[in-house]
């Protein structure tokens, strides 16, 4: 059994201290695998002057060259032959470019191990019959967006009686199905079974507003759950803060902040981070988080910087250490107060400034010309 497989079977998912050695070995094994099987990855690490021998302890993880997600949007790197690829996902592509991710068999098994560990530890597995509201696309063969699959997969955490989708597949296109959701919710309330909501925070907010505008007020089963994916990016754009969302949810659905769980993940780093009762994302044994300054050097707790995520989960693609375009800060677990001693991170937002003041013609304006098109 590989080190990584052992790691992903481990059941004490926040016991970082006792799994440090296992994690280190799994990472080294993973880095070597990618160096041997993905010539481009080997070139990248060589270009950065990296040698595996440099990583001797868990403290040395930062030495592994992180690959920026912006780079992965331009280049798709594989460490296995295409015939071994099973699940394919892409990012939602809000910024225009998309990243591709695909899992092979070993990566998938580890993923399943992680989901099991996560769901059990976070008490998300339930034997109760449940109704589902998926605030996203109905799954279809032609849709490869990772979030769609995640949302669908989570509907297996408790036995599903019925599923309703915000974006319904008519076979040829997707239509917004707010009316369908309203009707279903009224039915779900009467049925007396728990309801689970799955989707992005912004979509959930939109649903709450729609319900509130229609004068609909529900008291759903108290064991109902709202699972929000995708982190805070949508919140930042919509300028909605969490307390407002929790208060609205309590008013419209009868489900307060204690029934809302968020999870964070990225296509390039398919580890699911669930929030604790204090709504913090603690780092599980499957990954490590490093925050880096502008010289890409690691910084300590409490210092904001670039978010670097490390995991040995993937054998299909060399996503062992990736650098997102998020600014984040890492806190010691003790600061949270929920009892989980594993460090937690907080996303501060995307790098750059939305309203950066420039009148220099930008890259996208010049790109057409570069490609030889007309201006």
């Amino acid at each position: 059994m590989s080190y990584a497989s052992k790691l992903f079977c481990h059941r004490k998912i926040y016991d970082l201290e006792n799994t440090n050695d296992l994690f280190l070995h799994a990472i080294l094994e993973n880095v070597k695998h990618h160096m041997n099987n993905c010539p481009e990855y080997a070139k990248i690490v060589a270009h950065c002057g990296f040698a595996v021998e440099e990583v001797k302890t868990i403290e040395d993880l930062y030495k592994i060259p992180p690959i920026p997600t912006v780079f992965l949007k331009n280049h798709t790197l594989y460490s296995v032959s295409p015939k071994h690829l099973m699940l394919k996902s892409t990012t939602s592509g809000t910024s225009g470019k998309v990243s591709e991710m695909a899992l092979d068999w070993p990566s998938s098994l580890r993923g399943i191990g992680m989901i099991k560990g996560m769901f059990f530890t976070n008490k998300l597995i339930s034997p109760r019959l449940t109704n589902y509201v998926v605030l996203g696309y109905q799954p279809a063969k032609r849709n490869k967006i990772g979030a769609v699959k995640t949302a669908y997969a989570t509907t297996y955490a408790a036995p599903a009686v019925h599923r309703v989708y915000a974006l319904k597949d008519t076979g040829t296109e997707y239509v917004l199905n707010i009316e369908g959701i309203k009707k279903a919710l009224i039915r779900y309330e009467k049925s007396g079974l728990p309801v689970r909501f799955m989707g992005f925070p912004a979509y959930f907010m939109f649903l709450l507003k729609e319900l509130s505008d229609s004068g609909i007020k529900l008291t759903l089963h108290p064991k109902s759950l709202i699972l929000l994916a995708g982190g805070w990016k949508q919140f930042l754009a919509e300028k909605v803060d969490k307390p407002t969302l929790y208060a609205m949810s309590k008013e419209v659905l009868g489900l307060g902040g204690d029934r809302i769980r968020e999870f964070f993940g990225a296509v390039e780093h398919p580890i699911a981070y669930f929030d604790c009762p204090n709504h913090h994302f603690h780092v599980p044994i499957y990954s490590r988080v490093i925050i880096r300054d502008v010289n890409l050097q690691p910084v300590g707790y409490g210092v904001p910087g670039l978010l670097n995520l490390i995991t040995p989960m993937m054998t299909s693609m060399p996503f062992v250490s990736v650098m997102t375009d998020d600014l984040a800060v890492l806190h010691p677990g003790e600061e949270c107060g929920c009892g989980n001693r594993s460090p937690y991170f907080e996303i501060l937002g995307r790098v750059g400034l939305a309203d950066i003041k420039t009148c220099a013609a930008n890259a996208s304006e010049l790109l057409d010309i570069k490609k030889g098109g007309a201006s």
Binding site: M323, V351, S375
Partner: protein, 432 residues
């Protein structure tokens, strides 16, 4: 913030104004033409009473330190001085601006009287790329006697309205010539209403803003574009001097490479990559020294973005053969290709080979985007290289350090703004 007839209005007040806008404008047009002397006098009074500390504080909030703010203010004092404005009127519109000129056309038996007059109503769609720029655009409209409607950009910090209020306070007659509305760019209904009363729409901004307005502006309404541009340096072998390099570094550092006139990168008059690397090695310490003295605080978000882009570019080198020269808080990237693009900015420029024989063919595709070339060359090379640059579409050639400096009477993107905001009318009379 909305400003109509010298008063700040809320959204509801604006709706009322919009209902009567057409009649309102007719009333003002029916009055005596606005004399540029009144506008000049207003500027003079505003400058004399300017509370610099307020503006320094606002600029400080935008990340500029005091010495940079003071230099901007002193630049503004020159630009809005009586001498400058009078000089602009003379240079851009001729000595006889506003005065009728009568002559007999050759081969004809009648006489004509020509006169430069305002276009009438200008709608300024301002961009948020420079604070106070919207007010500057209005001033140019006032100087030419136009009624001005300003649609504020989303990120306007309030400097423009504050300045305009001071103008009105100085010369209350200006109140009827200034309308400011804070409608969102997506508020098509209101913007179309504003367009309907305008003789011309002055558009500041990038491709997207300009394209969006092109779709909204009816064919016979004049559109005056001040689009985004790109600038670069061209350096010949004999001109690589310490002073020349310091000048390039100065522009990079002082403008953050954010302006149309800012240096994005440097083309070298060579085809030899070794020479490009050599240049990078020589220029990097100069740039680093200038960065150390940078007077603007760059936020962590921007710094991290630049760091991330630079790192990604470093990895791209595996495919593109580019080479990154890293300095402290700055970098140069040597690319073997011959294209023009925006740099990572904030102290990160590109360097590319471009022998003069390929100058025209390489840059010509970018003709509508080119603005300033910082040219470092020997005195004997200047005429031929500058002429070649003008043929590519570049409109201004100057030493590196002056790329983003302007002077009184300078054309803007190759044109005189005041001339664009006026028209020439003529009356024909039978000869006596």
């Amino acid at each position: 913030m909305n400003l109509v007839h010298g008063e700040i209005l809320d959204a509801k007040g604006c709706d009322n104004v919009l209902d009567h806008l057409e009649q309102d404008i007719l009333d003002t047009l029916g009055k005596k033409r606005l004399d540029p002397q009144i506008v000049i006098a207003a500027c003079d009074k505003v400058l004399n009473n300017l509370d610099e500390s307020v503006y320094i504080q606002t600029m400080n909030e935008l990340g500029m330190n005091e010495s940079l703010s003071r230099s901007y203010i002193s630049e503004a004092r020159q630009m809005f001085s009586k001498e400058s404005l009078l000089h602009r009127l003379t240079v851009e519109l001729s000595d006889d601006y506003g005065k009728p000129v009568t002559f007999r056309p050759i081969f004809k038996e009648f006489s004509v009287t020509q006169q430069t007059v305002p276009l009438g109503v200008l709608l300024h769609i301002a961009a948020g790329n420079a604070d106070g720029l919207p007010a500057f655009s209005i001033l140019e409209g006032l100087l030419t006697g136009n009624i001005n409607i300003l649609k504020l950009p989303a990120a306007e910090g309030g400097i423009s309205v504050r300045l305009l209020l001071e103008f009105i306070k100085a010369e209350p007659v200006l109140a009827d010539y200034i309308y400011v509305f804070d409608y969102s760019s997506r508020d098509i209904e209101h913007i179309e209403k504003l367009i309907s009363v305008a003789d011309a729409v002055v558009v500041w901004g990038g491709k997207e803003a300009v394209s969006a307005l092109r779709r909204m502006i009816p064919p016979n309404t004049k559109m005056i574009e001040w689009g985004h541009k790109i600038s670069f340096a061209y350096v010949t072998e004999q001109a690589v001097t310490a002073a020349g390099l310091e000048g390039l570094a100065k522009n990079i550092v002082e403008t953050g490479q954010l302006l149309c006139s800012s240096l994005q990168g440097i083309f070298l008059d060579t085809n030899d990559m070794e020479k490009v690397y050599e240049f990078c090695g020589q220029f990097l310490p100069v740039l680093e020294a200038a960065i150390c003295k940078r007077s603007q605080d760059i936020g962590i978000g921007i710094q991290s973005q630049a760091a991330l882009k630079l790192y990604a570019e470093e990895l791209e080198g595996i495919y593109s053969n580019s080479r990154v020269f890293r300095g402290s808080s700055c970098s140069l990237i040597a690319y073997p290709d011959k294209i023009l693009d925006t740099s990572i900015q904030f102290g990160n420029a590109w360097v590319r080979p471009l022998p003069r024989t390929e100058l025209l063919s390489t840059l010509r595709p970018y003709k509508n985007y080119l603005q300033t070339a910082g040219l470092l060359c020997g005195p004997s090379e200047l005429p031929i290289l500058s002429d070649m640059l003008f043929k590519t579409g570049v409109v201004r050639v100057c030493p590196g350090e002056n790329m983003s400096l302007t002077y009184c009477g300078a054309p803007h993107d190759g044109e005189y703004p005041l001339r664009r905001y006026t028209k020439i009318v003529d009356i024909e009379r039978e000869s006596e």
